[in-house]
């Protein structure tokens, strides 16, 4: 990471302000304005539209291995997503994924 201290504070301040305004948007407005249905339909998909794209390159070519394919990380990622989808339990999935990663690394390392 290579940011100046003011840059870091700027990021924190802007994310905080922007997030607050998003939350405040409708709760804060007086009156009964409602979002059009087509906007709601798109907003519903924001987390699943951003997070998988963010995570894909990290799994396929991790920085820690110089951008090379890494079997332990791939398997750990697969185990995590499977556990998360099966059990709908975030902590269980994190724990299972991390255990898989450490196990694979000690076996192959």
């Amino acid at each position: 990471m290579n940011y100046s201290t003011p840059e870091i504070w700027t990021i924190i301040a802007l994310v905080a302000l922007g997030t607050y305004l998003i939350r405040f948007s409708f709760i804060g407005m007086v009156g009964d304005r409602e979002l059009p249905e087509w906007v709601l339909r798109h907003l519903r998909y924001t987390p699943v539209a951003v997070l998988p794209g963010l995570v894909a390159p990290l799994v396929l070519w991790p920085d820690a291995t110089g951008g090379n394919y890494d079997a332990p990380r791939m398997v750990a990622a697969a185990v995590t997503i499977c556990l998360a989808m099966l059990f709908k339990n975030m902590l269980l999935a994190i724990f299972g994924g991390a255990s898989t990663l450490f196990l694979m690394m000690s076996l192959l390392g």
């Binding site: 951003v50 997070l51 975030m90």
Partner: protein, 234 residues
């Protein structure tokens, strides 16, 4: 006991299960943020000012890549855009509530109490505005301090964890664990797949803008698949 007080206590009770998730998740953020290079105080303030785990992790990941400041902010806010939807669906229940209370409610609106609040308000339509505020506040009364303190503990511990523990992979694992339960419908799955494919294809686009373009495409695909599935059902 007044009905408002009772609503507050019910909020605390219903928020309890989240304790198990909030503290470790906050700790993980503290660890990852300080490993990435934020100071303890920056990490701590980040959690207090934003209270949105996924967006905070997204920001940290892009900061680790040295993405431009505006891209970091835009991506984190994109993750939080869903809260506009939460805000819109909670707002009708807070009609007549004083402005300053609605301003305070906006600060503590997160995934968990949105789901709790909406269910509660729908099933008990006779609740008064102040009871709803009390319930909503109660649901975060224990969780919010835990989010702050967990971050602080993680930040203090983080600087002492040696690199061989593969903490680089804490963020991907966290995101995958977050996304898994969200893949409820075909539309969600298609949006996620579009996001992955487009983000990889657009990896060449400078300033990490590819991710935002991929997210826009994925939202459109999600919305369109939803329409198609609905069209078939009717």
């Amino acid at each position: 006991m007044t009905t408002t007080k009772r609503a507050f206590l019910h909020g605390i009770r219903d928020g309890m299960p989240f304790i198990l998730v909030v503290f470790p998740f906050a700790m993980l953020f503290g660890v990852v943020a300080t490993e990435t290079g934020l100071s303890t105080i920056q990490t701590f303030i980040f959690s207090i000012a934003v209270i949105a785990g996924a967006a905070q992790f997204a920001a940290i990941q892009l900061m680790a890549d040295n993405a431009p400041v505006l891209i970091v902010v835009a991506t984190a806010l994109a993750v939080n855009l869903r809260m506009a939807m939460y805000s819109a669906s909670i707002a009708p229940y807070l009609r007549g509530v004083p402005f300053w209370k609605r301003a305070a409610m906006s600060y503590i609106l997160v995934d968990q109490n949105y789901a709790l609040g909406l269910t509660k308000f729908e099933t008990e339509p006779k609740m008064s505005g102040s009871e709803r505020v009390a319930y909503f506040t109660g649901s975060m009364t224990v969780n919010m301090p835990l989010w702050y303190s967990g971050t602080l503990v993680g930040a203090l511990v983080g600087s002492r964890i040696p690199p061989e523990y593969a903490l680089d992979f804490a963020v991907p694992i966290t995101f995958l664990a977050l996304v898994g339960p969200m893949l409820k419908t075909a539309a969600h799955v298609m949006a996620a797949l579009t996001s992955i494919v487009m983000a990889l294809l657009l990896g060449f686009v400078p300033y990490d803008l590819g991710l935002i373009l991929a997210a826009v495409a994925a939202m459109i695909v999600g919305a369109q698949v939803e329409l198609m599935v609905k069209g078939r059902a009717t």
